[in-house]
Symmetry: C2
Subunit: 560 residues, 2 copies
């Protein structure tokens, strides 16, 4: 029997649309000879449905659509797909994260997720009651074990298992022929190697092939990369779904193809692919038919964002806006225009010196003789934010924010200014990664980003001769410290132990803490690292962290 | 033996400061004759510590400070207080939410929370491993049961218990003399009656007094109201802590005072108290020594926000900013100045017509002959946002946002415009509640808000003769629909069944859905209802909810 893994791109909330797409793909798989189709975790509501799951009508509509879907697929092979179903036991969370089997015109079986991730961006304990163990069903003489995403992820780190249960044990007892896994596993750089190692371990443990189908597509801050996996019983990868694209992977678990070579991709390539899909899907799923606009400063961040946007929705649907001030270098305009020509997007130019004068006049009395400070720089940035939002409003185009992760981490950005926009395309890209991807693009796309943009010293150009390094440590140092702090959860003493000097570490961590209020109001950004700001970063704002500055000998002073 | 409930106001993250405050209060309680002190849930790190709990050094520092604290309290009565401690079993989440007993110079016992709330604003499964059951300790011949917040909240609704366990059962078996509960229970309007009914039920079940100590103070979006409770074995409330203020409640569980009359408070009074404490603590704990500023529009929202701010930090620390445009009514200036005089805050006036002209000029070419639309209104609002932020930056004062919950729900507000600010004081107050509290204030504070502000038709004054009701249903209808949708989780068919017409309901729910992107970037607001936007409202942005418009007969069209 051939099994088709349907690697699909659902829209969150669009149950009827997702059902229609499933029917289309099941029919295609049927014509290819499939005897069973498998779609991803929570496919019907789209993943992650978040608090839509708390809406009773939303759940009921899902059940109604699933019944109709089963009926309409009566003459097709059985289909196993993910959806939320009510927990009717009267005890526990109101729902199960389920895989349901549509077979012969009806939903004939339901399988519930056992291990519910509740960390980073995941909140599954908020909605779901866990099942006690996985189970299986028989089809065409095969016993097929059903697991949902996290169910196969326990016990990867022997030193600390997250869950006090082994939901897969039954598969050894009942000699399961093949293990299915329905996933909604978000992309991060390097994730595929981790997944493949894990899945090979599961296959070897049960001496059974593992068929893993992952969602594809961007949903708000998360990008699902697809790259579904088929692994043989001896633990060899024999088929893979495409990255960042819908796909059907058809295999016969009793007659699997030959092993594939190791998966290879460059971090720059896969990160760029994730940003493009994340941007395209956000624009499409939000219903912006007029494309996107963004400010072009002549710097590398807006250049990369423009390239991503043009690739995502086509250059004809992207508008670059130049807003030079008296502090802008000549290069900022020339380089932006050159970039726009290279990628084929339109531009308009709106100089802001008149607006700066008008603000100076309006604030002359209230500011009296107060010395010039960061305030005046923020005013410029917010003038630009207002102009960009005005153009976005008038045209019905999405404003893309162009800030990177390093800036957002240390607050080197203006809230309501350059932070304005509906999607922060590169806000999970450290500055050093912005450079790496830009160089990779130039190597692979014929110098699309003008060399001057890559070579110039980074500057906000909000005062004469300003550069980022007036205010921040060199980016290669800064990004390493931030990586250890944000992604590795380390605090000052541990980062210093890794070889960074006390003053730099103290200053960087202080900046991170003090800019929490900005991140609280930041646009959603596309997650590509192990820990992004946004859904998976939940920090208090009004707090005092001087305790983290205690010396290692435990000295501190009581407050109160 | 007398037990002192220490109803304290910790600052999140400030372990050393919170420890110092605890020492101070324990000494005071000792001088009052206490034989045991009890402080709230997670008192040492402050509640909620959120993702600070993922920082290993933060946890280690907590352990070090707790040890020192125990030593320094060696000659004081035993103290039971909340903190996070590591789970060293090698399986499960990395921490326990613990109550630890400092006694005779050491931490001598730890008690772990059993039921971990993971809904609404709570994320405890993200951090903590649950204990299997509650336990107890003996002191001075009494057996004292220890519970932490949610531990006593299971089974209030017999039709659906959230947890599949009864962690308190042991108290019946071992005949516990007295049940202690360490809480971090956020304020909502009417919450105290719910708490008291619950606690009376627990006391009656075990025929034992319940001593409930709650945190007090504002931490970001949450306000903890204190109002700790002592309930006798027969289930009568015999002592209460103060609302919105630190307090010590000292009782002898074997010799409790006489029952108190039923708790009485008006919703307007307690909501105002919560807003004042929430605003005061946010300003103080964020370290804004220069107070607050806000825009005064002449409307009721900014008027109420100004009264709250003046009460929170003193009128001398609040600055009102008037920013009239050609569309502003004469009353908008006069009424604002009258309000400012009534409450004693300073004002400055920055007219914006020159800035509007400058934006018109800058955007003349890009807008060409496009007809005037909402864009021009947003530009005005964002000019004001820029001015307010400039004054906030220059003065080092916190900008308060003045929007209400009804506006935020339907998106009747401008992102980066009137939504600008660090704290959205009344963003969980429906417009009708803004009126109720304002009238209550006028009745109890001698007409502090000018009657004209209360009487005028609500208007954004962004175009000639505009009123809110041009764009929105009447607020009494709107607020009822929003209440059913947001706080009661109902969708269109259920709301219509409650008596609201289809067109209104459909329009309101559409507006709520379409403004999700604005709320994603909103300032934190003070939660006073059962469901606020913010931490407890986790909605996808890029989604399609047309499935909720399906008719009840289950008709829908597949998409895909």
């Amino acid at each position: 029997m051939k099994i088709a893994l349907l690697q699909l791109n659902p829209t969150v909330g669009d149950i009827a649309g997702n059902a229609g797409r499933l029917i289309e793909y099941v029919k295609k798989a049927k014509s290819m000879g499939a005897g069973l189709c498998v779609a991803p975790e929570l496919y019907l509501p789209g993943y992650p449905p978040k608090d839509l799951l708390l809406n009773k009508t939303f759940i009921e509509r899902g059940l109604a659509v699933a019944d109709r879907l089963a009926e309409d697929l009566a003459d097709c092979p059985p289909v196993l797909f993910g959806m939320a179903v009510p927990n009717k036991s009267g005890v526990g969370k109101p729902l199960y994260n389920a895989a349901v089997l549509a077979r012969g015109g009806k939903i004939t079986a339901s399988f519930y997720k056992c291990l519910l991730p509740t960390y980073d961006v995941f909140d599954e304990d908020r909605y779901f009651e866990p099942a006690r163990g996985a189970s299986s069903f028989s089809l065409d003489g095969l016993r097929l074990g059903v697991t949902i995403c996290e169910d196969i992820w326990n016990g990867t780190d022997e030193s600390h298992r997250l869950y006090n249960r082994d939901p897969l044990r039954i598969f050894a007892e009942e000699k399961t022929d093949c293990i299915l896994n329905l996933s909604g596993s978000p992309f991060t750089i390097g994730k595929q190697a981790v997944r493949e190692a894990l899945i090979r371990g599961v296959a070897r443990r049960f001496h059974a092939p593992v068929l893993y189908v992952n969602q594809v597509g961007g949903n708000d801050d998360l990008v699902f990369d697809g790259r579904s996996i088929v692994c043989s019983g001896p633990g060899e990868i024999v088929a893979r779904g495409r990255a960042f694209s819908e796909d059907i992977i058809l295999v016969d678990p009793e007659n699997l193809p030959a092993p594939l070579p190791e998966y290879e991709t460059e971090p720059e390539e896969e990160a760029f692919g994730a940003l493009v899909m994340g941007t395209r899907d956000y624009i499409r799923k939000c219903g912006f038919s007029r494309g996107a606009i963004l400010g072009l400063s002549g710097g590398i961040d807006s250049a990369l964002t423009a390239v991503v946007a043009a690739e995502a929705v086509g250059p004809g649907n992207v508008l670059g806006v130049l807003m030079p001030s008296p502090y802008s270098s000549a290069g900022s305009v020339d380089d932006s225009l050159q970039l726009a020509r290279n990628i084929g997007i339109g531009t308009i130019t709106v100089p802001i010196s008149g607006l700066m004068d008008a603000f100076n006049a309006a604030l002359k009395a209230p500011f009296a003789d107060a010395p010039r400070d960061i305030t005046e720089e923020n005013i410029q940035s917010r003038i630009r934010g207002n102009l960009l939002m005005a153009l976005s409003n008038k045209r019905g185009a999405l404003l893309l924010t162009t800030g990177n992760k390093s800036e957002l981490a240390v607050g080197y950005c203006t809230i309501y200014g350059d932070m304005s926009g509906g999607l922060a395309v590169i806000s999970d890209l450290p500055k050093t990664m912005v450079y790496r991807i830009s160089r990779w693009l130039n190597a692979n796309r014929g110098g699309i980003i003008p060399q001057a943009v890559i070579d110039k010293a980074p500057s906000a150009e909000l005062r004469p001769d300003q550069t980022d390094q007036d205010s921040l440590p060199p980016y290669d140092i800064l990004d390493q410290v931030l990586h250890l702090h944000i992604e590795r959860h380390l605090s000052a003493p541990e980062i210093m132990a890794a070889g960074f000097d006390k003053k730099t570490v103290g200053r960087v961590l202080d900046l991170v803490r003090k800019s929490e209020f900005k991140r609280k109001q930041a646009a959603p950004g596309i997650k590509i690292t192990d820990r992004a700001f946004g859904t998976g970063w939940r920090m208090p704002i009004a707090c005092d962290l001087s305790v983290l500055k205690m010396t290692n000998n435990g000295k501190f002073r009581y407050g109160g």
